[in-house]
Amino acid sequence: MHLPDVTIHHPASLAEASATLRRLGPRARALAGGTDLVVDLKTRRVDADHLVSLARVPHLRGVERAPLGAPANGDLAGALRIGALTTIAQLDRSPELRGSLSALREATRDMAATQVRHTATVGGNIAGAVPCADLPPVLLVLGAWVEIASDSGTRTLPLVSFFTGPRQTLLAPGELLTAILVPPPPTRTGAAYARFSLREGNAIAVASVAAAVTVDDAGRIARASLALGAVAPVPRLVELPPGPERSDDDAIADAARRAVAASDPINDIRGSAEYRRELVRVLAGRAMRSALERAREARP
């Protein structure tokens, strides 16, 4: 299999990359890791004449803690900034993934295979907007934001509003996803990611659920959310309303019910919609329980 005839552009700055993409219009694609795009081009799922490689654009790699200064957006003070071109393997190895953020490692660990993790990028996993992508559910429960830039400026918006459909996002022509911003989680927060795939190694998720739970001083659930992958056109965030005082089992069962209700799965070769709903119920319970345990273990 071969790619169509393409021209590759190597912009050296973000502004140049953005201007190039805008100028070339829909016949151009941004090229990051390429592990999806190259396949899509070979199989003609995507047709393009121009590829705009982001490899030489500076400041798009790395995982670092943003200065605590006074960011424009107060929610993001002290946020973890994950550059869009950071590879999955680099994210996986980052010492910044600790505390409740280590749930991200549960997504990176089982994603694809080593070779792909060394090539695929965090930005691609998100901007590709493939419904079964692994990072979005975890990032959603962690309240992540996306940083979007173009030659006319930069904007940040909550990740939850970024996805508009399968393989569709809010990115406008000429815009690039430049970073993911993960705000520092509240104290006593635990997060977890549970995924189901048909094979142990190198298989996409048939269903996945991320959970984040914050507990109060007494260990009661103060705040909880779930996010679903592979079971709806877009990764879906389910905020759990504060409930009455109840047992963990009841709270978890309630969360699982809400997760199932929020899912909207399809039938495909990997499983029926019915089976996926059952998986959502089970995975939601597992993610919720482990997030809750971690929240209680978390040191304030």
Binding site: V38, S53, Q115, N125, A133, N202, I269
Partner: protein, 978 residues
């Protein structure tokens, strides 16, 4: 637009002209001629193209070369500097971690990157690092041993992993496998010598068909039908022809009416579809161009107008009156009907203590060798067709090419380069071979065609999906009274091997247990799907699965232990089965005893917690088919008259020539037996060495070229060890006999007293160091010229009964085996983890125990994978929904169970040095053992393969699995990745 670019490959700057859209893989292979990185899928699923980029493993097929200037690229060719293997490479060679070798370069590079980062990596880290490198041969077991050996090796030879008991350093060695002791007095046979091709494979030096490039070679692509059934109204190739670089386009109008196939009575495949297409993927045209990219683009420009016809996609629908016919000649779409009835089945059922009937369904399992099929054809000036092909049956390809082109077999030369696995899919002549030869003749240039991974699924020739209704009768003591079966085999659109498949599905059942009354009704049914063919275990794995499940169900019904019920029915040596198959050596009982002991069966069966289970099943296979696929002698088909069947082999099925070099220091073994990864070159050189009395390292194999190597029928029906082995042993003995008088003269004794071993000749009472073998050989040459020995093998005459189809299942010898499997099932999701296998096999006396274990481990993982994961799925238009390795999942190293493989002591007098088969027999116990273990863990029997989590969960919830539903035709892409 070509651009200049400099890549740093293996520390050397390599300026190269590329197209911007070229992948690193294509640049390495086509421009830099570094073919160690293999193309297995081209979309990042298989890992065969793994290279290191700045030291980290990546898929070269997913990277655009134009983006890699300034990066450090390491390929397998850059690993062993100066020809010295690295420790990791040595471990791969010595531990038997290499079979077909197609995954090896990628596997080694992934492991090398891991060990560079984590020199003492844990088992989990190893598995995680290698999960992106698929292997279909080894079952990953030996690969894990090799990498762990390196991960734990200290310079002083001790193991970094300390003894669990006292924490002291232990010698560095891998856990033992269960070998029977080698027979005393044998120097080569019975020893686990490393494969003769391992060093080439671990360095990337081994060349496969698609790695070869002949001068002036052009590239072709086959155009496939997008619809399941239709009439071709019109083909317009003008746009394709107009594309610059296109050299030729052929369609059904350009080929003869000649048809081909496998079974002579049913040559039903057209060279290219002439009037009708019968499945999605049926070849309708072929395009040749200056490069593969252009051929691919031109293929997409061939416009075919079809009149779509109703298609029948289900075997049980296809036999109904009024169903559309796939071929007019097969009434009700039945292209083979088997009606076997032995004894009095009805009376025996009536008199039985217990009778149970169950319906089982199989799956469409694809062989998925890591190397896609490939062929290169050219015609010599004297009219000889020279065909390089990734085939496991070069002689049948030669025979079929002679038939297709109406040329004598002597004018067809088939060269089999290294082959990256077959498992049956490379046993028949395929459209690549035909189209490459057709185009090469028209163009007068070599033509190469390579299947894409997707093409492979459309060609298929994988397992038949079998619909099985089985009924078993037992007496009070659990002894089998009668068995009857009705099987509908979904065969797809062409016969291929299907006639034999339909017979095998029934004939092999009575070889394992004594069945006094036996009935089998088999219907091989045509449907508008890609043709099914022969896959490892040919026709038998699904019926064996069903039979073993039914026997286990009834053992539970009667309160008899499943191993005990097998003992009570087990085949014994020197027995004629109810269907007239002659069982010779048989240590089936020993396999049952050994598995019971080593799996801790009695402590575990019925005593494991819910969610964990253990199961058992048995199986066995032929050691080579008793008869050739075609009748008569080696001759063009159209020269032959009607052939009356004779109950004997007309010509020898295996033939060997050994020529000793003039200095007596090396021997060239010529035999057409196809090394496809299973290790035949290695064990045949061991047998030859043993028969001659020289070290096996003095042997060199010439098995690739039909101009050099005499006829061998090929690698199918597990025939090579026994048949080719016997031919080679005879050739070796002939050489020894020729030099015996010269050795005797040197030793001063009578020729019959001379004994050869280790490259020396001895006589009892003579000098203990003997005399040099090579000196005797030189003296022979001085007087007679070339020292050559020949040998051949014909199966015994008179094999099988006198009823129709009695030939299928005949063999000089049969293998037996038993496996226990342990699983853990997640009762909330239905997910199965196959944890452990304990397997014992009667393969006769092994020629090379390490290679035997490699076959067993590979068979277990392949078969466990087909039991729980694999199924080629079709939509309601007959389109394959998962024609790739991310939709069709095969086990990775993370899925593979821990395996203990054992060999029981056995000796088969008809086999070379007592040996019989292992490659296919080892698959047969596996499916039933996994299914039993799952039933044992969950309390529910799933009788419908594959046993998916969804089916298990539905059964646990007491509901049938979701009704047939619309499956989305779109396959999601590989990832979740960027």
């Amino acid at each position: 637009m070509t651009i200049a670019c400099t890549l740093t490959v293996n520390d050397e700057p390599r300026p190269v002209a590329i197209e911007p859209g070229d992948t690193l893989l294509d640049v390495l292979r086509d421009r830099l001629r570094l073919t160690g990185a293999k193309k297995g899928c081209d979309v990042g699923d298989c890992g065969a193209c793994t290279v290191l980029l700045d030291g980290e493993p990546v898929n070269a097929c997913l990277l655009l070369a134009a983006t890699l200037e300034g990066r450090r690229i390491t390929t397998i060719e850059g690993l062993a500097r100066g020809g010295t293997l690295t420790g990791l490479q040595r471990a791969f060679v010595e531990e038997g971690a290499i079979q077909c070798g197609y995954c090896t370069p990628g596997m080694v590079l992934s492991a090398a990157a891991l060990l560079a980062r984590h020199p003492e990596a844990t088992r989990e880290q190893v598995k995680d690092a290698l999960a992106g490198n698929l292997c279909r041969c080894t079952g990953y077991t030996a690969i894990l041993r090799a990498v762990e050996r390196c991960a734990n090796a200290r310079p002083d030879g001790t193991c970094a992993r300390r003894s669990a008991e006292d924490g002291r350093p232990t010698p560095c060695q891998c856990p033992p496998r269960g070998d029977a002791p080698a027979r005393p007095g044998l120097a080569s046979v019975g020893h686990s010598v490393p494969r003769v091709d391992a060093a080439d494979k671990v360095t990337g030096r081994a060349l496969y068909t698609a790695d070869l490039s002949l001068p002036d070679m052009v590239h072709a692509k086959v155009v496939l039908s997008p619809i399941a059934h239709g009439r071709i109204r019109r083909i317009d190739a003008s746009r394709a022809r107009a594309l610059p670089g296109v050299l030729d386009v052929i369609t059904g109008a350009d080929v003869t009416e000649n048809t081909y196939g496998v079974s002579p009575a049913r040559y039903d495949e057209e060279l290219l579809a002439r009037a009708k297409v019968r499945h999605v993927g049926d070849p309708v045209a072929a395009v040749a161009a200056i490069d593969e990219k252009t051929a691919e683009r031109a293929a997409a420009l061939v416009e075919v107008e079809y009149e779509e016809l109703p298609a029948v996609l289900d075997a049980l629908e296809a036999v109904k009156p009024g169903a559309p016919l796939v071929h007019d000649r097969y009434e009700r779409n039945v292209n083979t009907h088997v009606a076997h009835d032995f004894g009095d089945v009805d009376a025996a059922f009536a008199a039985s203590h217990a009778v149970r009937e169950e319906v089982f369904t199989g799956n469409f399992v694809y062989q998925c060798p890591m190397e896609p099929q490939a062929a290169i054809a050219h015609w010599d000036h004297d009219g000889t067709l020279v065909l390089h092909s990734a085939t496991q049956a070069p002689h049948y390809v030669q025979y079929m090419m002679a038939h297709v082109f109406h040329v004598p077999l002597g004018k067809v030369r088939v060269i089999r380069p290294h082959v990256g696995g077959g498992f049956g899919v490379k046993a028949a002549t395929n459209p690549l071979e035909v189209c490459a030869a057709l185009l090469a003749r028209r163009l007068g240039r070599p033509v190469r065609i390579v299947f894409s991974r997707e093409d492979m699924f459309h060609y298929y020739r994988g397992r038949h999906k079998q619909h099985m209704r089985f009924k078993l009768g037992l007496d009070r003591g659990g002894r089998i009274t009668a068995f009857s079966s009705e099987i509908h085999l979904d065969g797809g659109a062409y016969s291929s091997f299907g006639v034999a498949t339909a017979y095998y599905a029934g004939s092999m059942i009575p070889t394992l247990y004594k069945i006094p009354n036996y009935r089998y009704n088999g219907y091989r049914v045509m449907t508008h799907k890609p043709a099914c063919g022969a896959m490892r275990g040919h026709g038998v794995p699904q019926p064996r699965f069903a039979f073993e499940c039914l026997l286990n169900m009834m053992a539970d019904d009667l309160g008899i232990d499943p191993i005990e019920i097998r003992r009570r029915n087990a085949m014994t040596p020197h027995t004629r089965t109810v269907n007239d198959l002659d069982i010779g050596s048989c240590e089936f009982l020993a396999t049952l005893d050994a598995v019971e002991r080593d799996s801790a069966w009695r402590e575990k069966y019925g005593r494991l917690p819910k969610g964990r289970g253990i199961g058992v099943a048995s199986g066995g296979f032929v050691s080579g088919a008793g008869y050739c696929i075609y009748r008569g002698q080696v001759q063009m088909t159209h020269e032959k008259g009607p052939e009356k069947f004779q109950k004997k082999s007309i010509f020898p099925h295996a033939n060997a020539v050994i020529r000793v070099t003039e200095d007596g220091m090396a021997a060239i073994l010529m035999i057409g037996a196809a090394e496809i990864g299973q290790g035949s070159d290695t064990i045949l050189s061991q047998i030859a060495a043993e028969a001659m009395g020289i070290p096996h390292t003095r042997l060199r194999m010439k098995s690739q070229d039909s101009d050099i190597a005499p006829l061998d029928l090929g690698s199918y029906s597990s025939r090579v060890t026994l048949m080719a082995g016997n031919a080679v042993a005879a050739a070796g003995a002939a050489v020894a006999d020729k030099i015996r008088p010269y050795a005797a003269a040197m030793l001063g004794c009578a020729p019959p007293a001379v004994r050869f071993a280790h490259g020396r000749a001895f006589v009892e009472g003579g000098p203990p160091e003997g005399v040099a073998w090579e000196e005797a050989a030189r003296r022979y040459f001085n007087e007679h010229g070339p020292l050559v020995g020949t040998g051949c093998y014909k199966p015994p005459e008179g094999l099988g009964g006198d009823f129709k189809g009695a030939t299928v299942g005949t063999s000089p010898a049969y293998s037996f085996g038993t496996a226990a499997c342990e699983v853990a099932v997640d009762l909330d999701t239905g997910k199965v983890r196959v944890q452990r296998f304990t397997d014992y096999h009667d393969c006769g006396t092994p020629i090379n125990p390490q290679q035997v274990h490699g076959q067993v481990e590979g068979a277990i993982v392949m078969s466990a994978s087909e039991t729980i994961l694999e199924d080629v799925q079709f939509d309601d238009k007959g389109r394959v929904l998962n024609p790739n390795l991310h939709g069709y999942l095969i086990m990775t190293i993370k899925d593979a169970p821990e395996i203990f493989s054992g060999i029981v002591e056995s000796y088969e007098p008809r086999g070379p040095f007592g040996a019989k088969e292992i490659g296919e027999g080892a698959t047969l116990p596996v499916l039933g053992a996994v299914a039993h273990a799952i039933a044992n863990a969950t309390g529910v029997w799933i009788k419908d393969l594959p046993i998916t989590p969804e089916k298990i969960l539905a059964a646990l919830h007491g509901s049938p699995p979701a009704a047939p539903r619309h499956r989305s035709p779109t396959c999601l892409p590989t990832a979740s990745k960027g």
